[in-house]
């Protein structure tokens, strides 16, 4: 409708490999960048930025989980545990060695990647539900180890307070400053994933997901790529954990329990397996929708109920409504929000002259 895809010729390999070959896609990306770096932070109240901040952190974690579950086809219900590994690694480094965030952040990711690769070893022998149970065990073991090792957890409370991150001598502490901090890493994670999934490694992941025996026959080392997938996915989780730690100013494993793993699985199921955009949609949906439902319900229910009853009614109907919306979207499009978006886009591609 808005643009033509014909007539875009590529005369170099670089142009052929560009992430966004169409001019309209480049313009869209430029507009999105402008929106997120200039328009939103300047026009929104700090409160709305804080909500976006939560979504940005979730985007990093959801992307990581989608690499493992969506692209490689290995199930994991231990994602939150890897976040706590990253969180405590970074917190210990920041507090005991006074390292800045640009050291602790990759360090947290790498430690999580290491633990993730170890947890991934059973995936070589077991699949599906059995692997889910193995990763569930990992979740519980990691929680237990942190809870019972004061050297990691920093004492009986199992929480380590970390100082705010500093950049060039400035403390990043208001929601607006944290917004840019988190946006940078969410954008970096998105860009890295986009490139990863169309690389040799990403194609190997997809081959393993679709048929692991066939993948092995065409020369893909299952051992190496399955563990690599676990490691990369856990790296994202670790970074996500570090971001949470800096955002809240504390590392606390109680914020990374089994329920959080399930939340992240919900994000990628709702968003769509095996898609970068789907991970983002899912993270935003699960983080922001319950909040948005409340924004709508509070004034609406306020017309009928007093303040005491209001809280109880809003809290429970919000949960029901959120559940119904998940079911609705999954019934409309079982492949997730990403597929829904693509259907809409494809419809308008030739509109109004579709044949």
């Amino acid at each position: 409708m808005l643009h033509r895809e014909s007539g875009v010729f590529k005369t170099s390999y670089a142009a052929d490999m560009a992430l966004y070959p169409l001019p309209i896609a480049r313009w869209t990306v430029a507009a999105i960048v402008l929106l997120f770096t200039v328009v939103l932070p300047l026009s929104l109240h700090e409160y709305y930025l804080s909500v976006i901040n939560l979504a940005l952190i979730a985007v990093v974690g959801a992307l990581g989980l989608n690499i493992l579950v969506g692209y490689t086809g290995q199930i994991s219900v231990g994602h939150a545990a890897f976040m706590s590994v990253g969180a405590y690694t970074a917190a210990n480094l920041a507090v005991h060695l006074h390292l800045p965030f640009w050291v602790t952040l990759p360090a947290g990711g790498l430690m999580a990647a290491l633990i993730g690769a170890i947890v991934g070893i059973p995936s070589l022998r077991i699949k599906g539900l059995y692997l889910a149970i193995a990763t569930l065990a990992a979740q519980l073991i990691i929680e237990w180890v942190i809870n019972h090792t004061p050297a990691i957890s920093g004492g009986a409370q199992a929480s380590i307070e970390v100082p705010r991150p500093t950049l060039l001598g400035y403390q990043i502490k208001t929601q607006g400053q944290l917004y840019y901090f988190l946006l940078f890493f969410a954008a970096l994670a998105t860009l890295a994933t986009l490139n990863l999934v169309r690389s040799r490694i990403g194609r190997a992941f997809v081959a393993i997901r679709d048929q692991d025996i066939a993948a092995e026959i065409i020369g893909i080392s299952i051992f190496r790529y399955k563990l690599l997938s676990f490691a990369i996915s856990s790296f994202y989780a670790g970074v996500c954990g570090v971001l949470y730690t800096y955002y809240f100013g504390i590392a606390n494993y109680e914020a990374f329990q089994i329920g959080v793993s399930i939340d992240y699985l919900a994000m990628i199921i709702i968003g769509g397996f095996g898609s970068v955009l789907g991970s983002i949609f899912g993270a935003v949906f699960v983080t922001m929708l319950p909040i948005a439902i409340r924004w709508i319900m509070e004034p609406l229910a306020g017309l009928f109920f007093g303040s005491g009853e209001l809280s109880s009614i809003v809290a429970s109907t919000r949960l029901v409504l959120f559940g119904c919306l998940i079911i609705f979207f999954l019934v409309v499009e079982p492949e997730g929000l990403n597929r829904l978006w693509r259907n809409v886009r494809n419809y308008f591609r030739t509109w109004p002259f579709s044949y």
């Binding site: 804080s50 100013g249 809290a315």
Partner: protein
């Protein structure tokens, strides 16, 4: 533009200005209290009783004209016991101009501690969060306003000492606890007291979710055979502990529970008052409906033609909600009085909170004294015992081993 439309514009503008001014005047005489709650998450068994208590007390205050002429608007946000929504709730409260916040949940309190300090808004965390938060120097904007787990541990030992005839030398005490940070927190105090009081302490951890503890209880009753048992459990597990100890023949009159294993709901889930007869519970707010403030709340409902709130059936949690609301209100009252009736800021309310002393609400609130240094207010508790089908007061408000607690508080700095 014609003359008539010009005139109309002016009228609309004037109307809008008048409306806004009216709004502003209403807001000038309004204080916003933020309340975080969990009515739908992991700890909903507490939240659905506690939070209505909070709202009811505030409605009572408003129905009597508010605090010194200021009406209170409570903004409650249900965070489902998840950590990220707690931050959203805090930012929302800040946007709406809340002067104080009621926090809910230990991980949520931990996650907001830094932000509260940066934004200079005080938060109260009764029964949640770290014991070290009673140190007002280290955590200036967090107020436990109720006995911490350290104070509860000390109180449990003092109670055991009283029950065992005033001497613990050579006695054996078992500590049955939920294996999480909150469960492990009182250990330092118990171990210290074991040394100074000369009793033998053995600990028995119950892993999450805490509904299976036959092995631990058998170990306690069959092998260790303690003179007293102190339990510190959450959620469903207190009722399981009551049932298990009872079925192994251990006398429940030699068991004392911390504050989260102390509600009517736990006793009912364990099989009723008959089964739990003799069970001791530590409380940081009064229990039962025999208080003037509860009668006032019910009278308020009656005047509106409504029945008394059903949340009162678990008075342990309901009363805690009332107590939290009452202390919030008192802090605001002190702040308004100190400023001669002008609208207080969160900073003023912090000072008001730090001046609370001798406010007992007819015996429902302990005689705590909150100061700039002691945000816990002295760690007062009361023991209530299951007797003849209800929870009965067992002695007065008391504090125990303050020197030991203060020593440990100083050591954490």
């Amino acid at each position: 533009m014609s003359r008539s439309s010009n005139w109309r514009m002016t009228a609309i503008a004037a109307g809008a200005v008048a409306l806004m001014a009216g709004n502003a005047a209403a807001q000038d005489k309004e204080l916003v209290f933020g309340l975080q709650c969990d009515r739908t998450g992991a700890t909903q068994t507490v939240g659905v009783f506690l939070c209505p208590g909070y709202h009811d007390y505030i409605s009572l205050v408003n129905s009597k004209g508010g605090i010194e002429g200021y009406k209170i608007r409570v903004l409650e946000i249900d965070h489902e016991y998840k950590v990220p929504p707690a931050m959203e709730a805090h930012e929302r409260f800040k946007k709406e101009g809340a002067v104080l916040e009621g926090l809910y949940g230990t991980p949520q309190t931990a996650a907001l501690t830094k932000k509260l300090e940066e934004d200079k808004i005080l938060g109260t965390s009764p029964g949640f969060g770290t014991a070290a938060a009673s140190d007002g120097k280290r955590y200036p904007y967090v107020f436990p306003i109720a006995a911490s787990y350290w104070s509860q541990g000390a109180a449990a030992v003092a109670f055991a000492k009283k029950e065992l005839g005033g001497n613990l030398k050579g006695k054996k005490i078992a500590y049955l606890f939920y294996d999480n940070p909150a469960g492990k927190e009182p250990l330092v105090i118990l171990e210290d007291l074991a040394k100074s009081e000369g009793f033998d302490l053995r600990t028995f951890a119950v892993p999450a979710p805490g509904v299976e503890m036959a092995a631990q209880v058998l170990d306690i009753t069959g092998r260790y055979r303690p003179d007293f048992v102190i339990t510190h459990l959450f959620g469903r597990s207190p009722s399981v502990s009551i049932r298990e100890l009872k079925s192994k023949g251990y006398p429940l009159s030699k068991v004392v529970s911390f504050v989260w294993g102390a509600s009517e709901a736990d006793i009912k889930a364990a099989g009723g008052y008959e089964v739990a007869n003799g069970y001791h519970t530590i409380q940081f707010a009064g229990v039962g409906l025999d208080f003037q403030v509860i009668k006032d709340i019910n009278a308020m409902y009656q005047a509106q033609g409504k029945p008394a709130p059903t949340a009162q059936e678990v008075s342990v949690f309901y009363n805690r909600g009332v107590m939290i609301a009452a202390i919030h209100t008192e802090a605001a009252r002190a702040a308004i009085k100190a400023k001669d009736g002008t609208k207080p800021t969160s900073e003023d309310i912090k000072k008001g909170m730090e001046s609370i002393k001798g406010f007992t609400l007819g015996g429902m609130v302990p005689p705590m004294e909150i100061t700039e240094l002691d945000h816990e207010g002295g760690g007062w508790v009361q023991v209530w015992t299951v007797k003849d089908g209800k929870l009965v007061k067992n002695g007065h408000w008391f504090q125990a081993y303050r020197d030991v607690i203060n020593k440990h508080l100083a050591a954490t700095n």
